[in-house]
C-alpha cells in the first residue's frame, strides 16, 4: 500500500508524521542534529541509533549472561565427569576389573564391557537430554527460558515455538558428548586390564 493510499484510508493529513527516520551522513554530527531537531520541534523525541543499541544491550545482555552461566555450568559438569573417567579408575573399578580378569575375562572382553558401559551411560544421558529439551520447548513453551528468549520487544505476539529438529545440531552435541565420554572410559580400563589380575586384586 502506498503512503498516499494509507493516509487516504485512515484519514491522516499529509503533514502528520508519527515516526521519522533521519540518516546523517557524518556519524559525529548525529547528536548535534538531534539537539537542533529538539530545539525546533520541542514536542518530539529524538532517539539515536546508539541509544537504541544501548537499550538492547541493557535489556538482552544480562539474559545472554544467564544462558552463558547455565551453559558453562553444564559444560564444566560434563568436563569434570569426562576428566574423572579419563584420569583413572577408582579403587572399586580396578578391583572389579581384576576380578573379571581373574575369573577368565580377556583384556579385549573387559575393554568391550567398558566401552558398552560408556556408550550406554552417555547415550542414555544424551537421549534423555534431547527428549527433555524437546518436551520443555515444544510442549511447555520453554517455560524456563521463555523470559530470556522473548525479551521486551515481543511482549504482544504470542510465544509458541514451532516443533523443529536440527539434525546437524544434534549431531554436533552427540559428537561433543557421547564420543569423548566413551573414549575417556577406554584408556584407563585398558591400562587396568593389561596388568596381572593378581596385582589388581591385592589393591
Amino acid at each position: 500500500m502506498s503512503d498516499t493510499d494509507f493516509r487516504g484510508l485512515f484519514g491522516i493529513p499529509p503533514t502528520l508524521f508519527t515516526d521519522i527516520v533521519l540518516t546523517v551522513r557524518n556519524p559525529l554530527e548525529t547528536s548535534v542534529v538531534s539537539g537542533k531537531i529538539l530545539r525546533m520541534l520541542p514536542d518530539t523525541r529524538a532517539v539515536l541509533k546508539d541509544d537504541i543499541l544501548r537499550t538492547y544491550d541493557a535489556v538482552f545482555a544480562w539474559r545472554g549472561g544467564v544462558l552463558l552461566v547455565i551453559f558453562s555450568a553444564a559444560v564444566f559438569a560434563f568436563l569434570i565427569c569426562a576428566w574423572d573417567k579419563a584420569g583413572g579408575l577408582s579403587h572399586e573399578e580396578r578391583r572389579e576389573i581384576g576380578v573379571l580378569r581373574a575369573v577368565g575375562w580377556d583384556t579385549s572382553e573387559v575393554i568391550m564391557l567398558k566401552v558398552w558401559e560408556g556408550i550406554i551411560i552417555s547415550l542414555s544421558s544424551f537421549m534423555l537430554g534431547i527428549i527433555f529439551a524437546y518436551v520443555h520447548v515444544f510442549f511447555f513453551s520453554s517455560t524456563i527460558f521463555e523470559p530470556v528468549l522473548k525479551g521486551w520487544a515481543v511482549i504482544y505476539p504470542s510465544f509458541r515455538p514451532v516443533p523443529a529438529v536440527n539434525s546437524s545440531q544434534i549431531a554436533a552435541v552427540f559428537f561433543l558428548t557421547v564420543v569423548p565420554y566413551t573414549a575417556a572410559t577406554i584408556i584407563p580400563s585398558w591400562l587396568a586390564s593389561t596388568i596381572d589380575p593378581d596385582s589388581v586384586i591385592r589393591l
Partner: protein
C-alpha cells in the same frame, strides 16, 4: 574327573615384586613342587610367607619372574596373556580371601560372570548357576544383592562362582579368614564334596580347621618364600 599324573609341576619358581626398584621384594625363592590331581593340598604359613603369591602363579593370575609352571602337562608360565586367560577360564576356579563379589549385582549375576566369555547361551548359564545355588543351599538368595548376604552366604556364592565353568582345579586363598568355626567347618564340608566329585583343591590357610581337616592329603609349610616342609596324609 581326577588327573592322576602330576597335575601341576612347579619348577624353581621365583617371584620378585618391584624389580630394580628401591622397594624390591622377593616373595618366592626358587620353589619346586609337584601336585597330583584329585587331591586336597594346603599351603600353610604366616602372613608374608609367599603362599598367596604361589597360588596366584599356579592359577595363572601372575607370572613367575623365574622358573616354570606346568598344568596338566602344559607350560603356562610362558603363555601370552590371551592364552593364559583361556587356561585360567577352563581349568581354574578361584575363591578369594576378600571374596571379591561385585557389589550392586545380584548373587546370580556374580555367579554367571565367569561364564559370559565362554559364549554359552545365557539361558543355559543361568540354569547351571541356579543348579549350583540349589546344591549349595542358596536357592532363595539368587536374586539378592550381594551386599545383603551374610558372611556364610557370600562365601557360598563365591564358591558357586568358582564352579560355574566346571574347573578341574579349585584355588582358595585364606577361605575361612572371615568365617567363624561353624562356617569354616561347613566350608570344608563343601570342599570335601567337591573333592569327591573329582576336583583338585588347593588352599592357602593357617587356620587349624583347614590345616587339620581330614580331607587334606598334603600340607605344605612355607615361610619367607621357601618351602619348609611337607606333611603327606593317607
Amino acid at each position: 574327573m581326577g588327573y592322576e599324573s602330576d597335575m601341576i609341576e612347579i619348577r624353581h619358581v621365583t617371584k620378585v615384586f618391584n624389580k630394580n626398584r628401591p622397594n624390591e621384594f622377593t616373595a618366592l625363592h626358587g620353589v619346586s613342587l609337584d601336585l597330583k590331581g584329585n587331591r586336597a593340598i594346603v599351603f600353610s604359613g604366616p602372613s608374608g610367607s609367599g603362599k598367596t603369591t604361589l597360588l596366584s602363579i599356579i592359577g595363572g593370575m601372575a607370572k613367575p619372574t623365574q622358573g616354570r609352571i606346568f598344568v596338566q602337562g602344559e607350560e603356562i608360565s610362558r603363555l601370552s596373556g590371551r592364552f593364559l586367560t583361556e587356561v585360567r577360564r577352563r581349568t581354574f576356579g578361584f575363591i578369594f580371601q576378600q571374596l571379591n563379589l561385585i557389589r550392586g549385582m545380584t548373587a546370580l549375576e556374580n555367579v554367571m560372570l565367569p561364564g559370559y566369555p565362554t559364549g554359552e547361551r545365557r539361558r543355559d548359564l543361568r540354569k547351571r548357576a541356579i543348579r549350583l545355588f540349589e546344591t549349595l543351599n542358596l536357592g532363595n538368595r539368587a536374586e539378592a544383592k550381594v551386599e545383603w548376604l551374610s558372611g556364610g552366604e557370600a562365601q557360598r556364592v563365591a564358591i558357586a562362582r568358582a564352579l560355574i565353568n566346571d574347573p578341574s582345579i579349585l584355588i582358595a586363598d585364606e577361605p575361612t579368614a572371615h568365617l567363624d568355626s561353624k562356617l569354616s567347618q561347613d566350608f570344608m564340608g563343601i570342599m570335601e564334596r567337591l573333592k569327591e566329585g573329582g576336583k583338585t583343591i588347593i588352599l592357602a590357610s593357617h587356620d587349624p580347621i583347614v590345616c587339620g581337616s581330614r580331607i587334606v592329603e598334603r600340607l605344605v609349610r612355607m615361610r619367607d618364600g621357601l618351602i619348609l616342609g611337607q606333611e603327606v596324609g593317607e
